[in-house]
Symmetry: D2
Subunit: 300 residues, 4 copies
């Protein structure tokens, strides 16, 4: 896996939402037009079919098709990281293979979680090990306790990082103690991505190389600038950027979720469009709150 | 929906495991032979494709096929309750329709949970309302916080119970305060099932009509006897049965999970067989512990 | 400890609030007058200085003095169970001795919890064992995860119940599975009290002998009737009583807490009075909600 | 309060343990000798009677006496920050006044938490506002969810920071998102202290001014060096120090707690001595693990 070890995850990656028509079908043309606009910004690549992509509301076939279509619009030099996690090891392996055929450069694989009480370190390690041994794509672990209610333990991350196919992790749990520990206990080629703009600078400071942040869909320049200032050693400027982003980030990701992100995209000239149920659209007064926060953050 | 209101959920329902071959494929012949043996016991019906049926490790097609095959082996007078929940409202509606065609008498529908932070009462109510309006089958709500990390609120249950298609709930959360409150605040035709043998008597005492219990797969007689003693007003005998079942129930359901249930079935002459990953099989010493507990419970 | 094994915890025990004057001092005369009124009701005894007694807002000296004064007003044939738990084993032993001198019949001892991460089964067992060996009073364990965020494990309860001084437990966690298991795994002299009216019938059905319920301060007759119906084997009548009490119980204990209980007492002619900060009094509209619920429950 | 706004919390503060004799009494001479040794290190001051000081296992009188004695050994130019939090507003005010008389420069006040379900933002704000209005000492808020199971909300921190007596917060929750947000939303004179060495650099990167870390009791030089490297803009060196400290920090603070800290102090020539129950001393094999980690961290 010489290739996978050459994969750089440095920089800023938006986890793009999946656009739907008013009738609820995937809006592939809007996917293309959104990507064209993002392509003009200094992003390192895209996560397609992740949590913000409402992957749990897509059929198996839709998940693949969205990646195929996104690949058409994403230049070769930008990474397409495809979400291929499921609650089952077998299906995750199958879908990861299909994502390779669909043109993905890497797979990002959320922890299985339904049998929470039985998701021991051994169960996580077995799941990802089987996947690593059968995957044509480099694997990025994906830990997001706010959604899964399980937490991939440091020990398991440390073991799995020994496998050359496991090239990194998107850690959304928000503990920089854990992020620092995983940087410390994994080989150099294993790369850590902060899973939210909220703790981006904190994560960079302890060795994360980049960020997968919903906010990157609507504030790419600020996040890229933060990353650059940090790399240049200008911590003061990086901090100012970080602090200015926290309120809008909390609003979009924690408070309003995917529906908030899509509404923000609508405000900003992207196609956001509806969410699929069980997610609900924002209420009118919530949209107004969002609009004001976008204005305050100088995004609108 | 005169039919659905006529559906009685009284009694004991095992949530049957899905048997797999050593190669990991669904073992339909073993499904038949297990059902034949259960058919000889005084059960009210079966839950097929629920949490103990490892539905999250089955493909969409396998979920349907397992119900079709089970229907062949289940007599008409016994209820086949098919698990048809997914994280998406659209897919849940589709799968529920397919379960009707596959021969199910009712659908049991687990709460969507991936976007936990956004699963407001309104989101739950919208999900199940859409389903109820489009379902050819009576709907049984399914609340299992130990797996989903969300808790369907009393208010939502109370509202959804007003819909004639929503005929009941399997409540696995274990709070008899909540079970009593939902009995109190729902119409008479809305029926509450305890989701575990561990709190069966407690639930019956406040108005539950039956139980969906993993333990019913291996100890149907005891659970049916408990139910009968309770209905006859013999609380002392019911309590003795209840207390005698708690240890084996905790072992099979909480401590060892589906792998424990399957191992117990193997000990008792059913086909248990392997679990699908990410679940792991029991270690040898765990099997020994299980065997001793089965002996102590006079099941082996 | 022949005496302690003779101590019966059967029946209904209100955990009485500590009355304060408008200036925030303990109102001993109101304590007396409240007790006189409760003495006219068929209660088995009182918990003094428990969670509803705001023990954490009393000084060490006030805790003792409240018990001394309450003893004056409580007839000998009714149990005075004094809260004597602290975060420290030493202080708990000291306070338990002082409660004996103050006239308590038994001590109810909440789990220490500040060092939650280190409160292993061994730590709990050591704490209560030291206390049992040094206590002049029978000890009632007190598990209330809603306040302490720790859960006294079944294994520890089972071990501690072997000690003759440990005569019972007030279990407020609400799991009848756990209550059944502890009844099953402890000697006959070890008595289990439900910690809330919400799951009283469920707890009785699996072997609890009584209840310590905030609601007993304002609805003693209903709770005593529920207990009697259950003992007479009239489950139907017990259930009707149980279901009728859930809403008012949830309002007083979960939703509004001690301030709600005190406001309800004010409505019903007892002296409720103010709470001590950090608890806040009810808002006016909350009081109105409470009043309506009291009317609906036929208490007002 | 011109003085309080002049109070600088920059730098490293150990939360010193309270030494006990083998008989369990406070060992004041060992308190003195430990402080003399710490005085030789470049620390900004001390937290006395905090979580690591086992304040919940001290009597009210012992809490005051420990501060009085510590003051004797602490030079004027170093801050003595005394823990004065209790579950009650009245007692917290009283104790804070007594801490002023005992010589403290500031009070650190843990959130009350026993009535967790009622600790609304308004309840927290009322508690601290009353304290601020009555306190002779500058107040440092103290949020430690791992112990209290409540989380002081950002909104409350932001409001309380408007009061001149509230000069800062020790935030032990570990979320740099929250720390960044509180830096952003509070006046400049409000100073944030990281509550653990584990996320020290992450916290500094978003604007914290210092750290209160158990680890500072045994590794002051490393923490001070980390702080200095950060202030000099040498993020690479700061990161190397941070990563090297995570394992030992996790061991001492999370895994073994106060007993681990005291055992480490014994290894390193300080007086650690016994903990008070309900805390338990380390087992022999735990001590051995600790010793190895101290060696690996080059502390021993």
């Amino acid at each position: 896996m010489t290739e996978s070890t050459a994969l750089s995850l440095a920089g800023v990656f938006p986890p793009i939402p999946t656009p739907f028509t008013l009738e609820g079908e995937v809006a592939f043309d809007q996917l293309h037009s959104n990507l064209e606009r993002w392509n003009a910004q200094p992003l390192s690549g895209y996560v397609v079919g992740g949590s913000n992509g409402e992957f749990v509301s897509l059929t198996h076939e839709e998940r693949i098709k969205v990646v195929q279509e996104a690949r058409q619009a994403i230049p070769k030099e930008r990474l397409l990281i495809a979400g291929s996690g499921t609650h089952s090891t077998r299906q995750t392996i199958t879908l990861t293979e299909q994502m390779a055929q669909a043109g993905a450069d890497a797979a990002i694989v959320v922890t299985p979680s339904y049998y929470r009480g039985r998701m021991t370190p051994a169960a996580f390690e077995n799941h990802y090990s089987q996947l690593a041994e059968n995957s044509p794509l480099p694997i990025i672990l994906y830990n997001v306790p706010a959604n899964t209610a399980v937490d991939l333990p440091l020990e398991s991350i440390s073991k799995l990082a020994q496998k050359p196919q496991v090239v990194g992790i998107k850690e959304s749990g928000g503990s920089v103690t854990k992020i620092g520990a995983m940087v410390h206990r994994t080989p150099d080629y294993f790369q850590v991505l902060a899973g939210s703009a909220g703790f981006m600078l904190g994560a960079l400071s302890v060795g994360a190389v980049g960020v997968v942040a919903a906010l990157a869909n609507i504030a790419a320049e600020s996040l890229v600038a933060l990353h650059e200032r940090f790399q240049q050693g200008d911590i003061g400027a990086a901090r100012d950027l970080q602090l200015s982003l926290i309120e809008i980030n909390t609003t979009v990701t924690v408070r309003f979720g995917v529906a908030g992100l899509k509404a923000a995209m609508d405000f900003l000239g992207y196609y956001g469009g509806p969410v699929r149920s069980p997610l609900l659209p924002l209420e009118e007064e919530e949209k107004e709150v969002l609009r004001e926060i976008l204005v305050r953050a100088a995004l609108l």
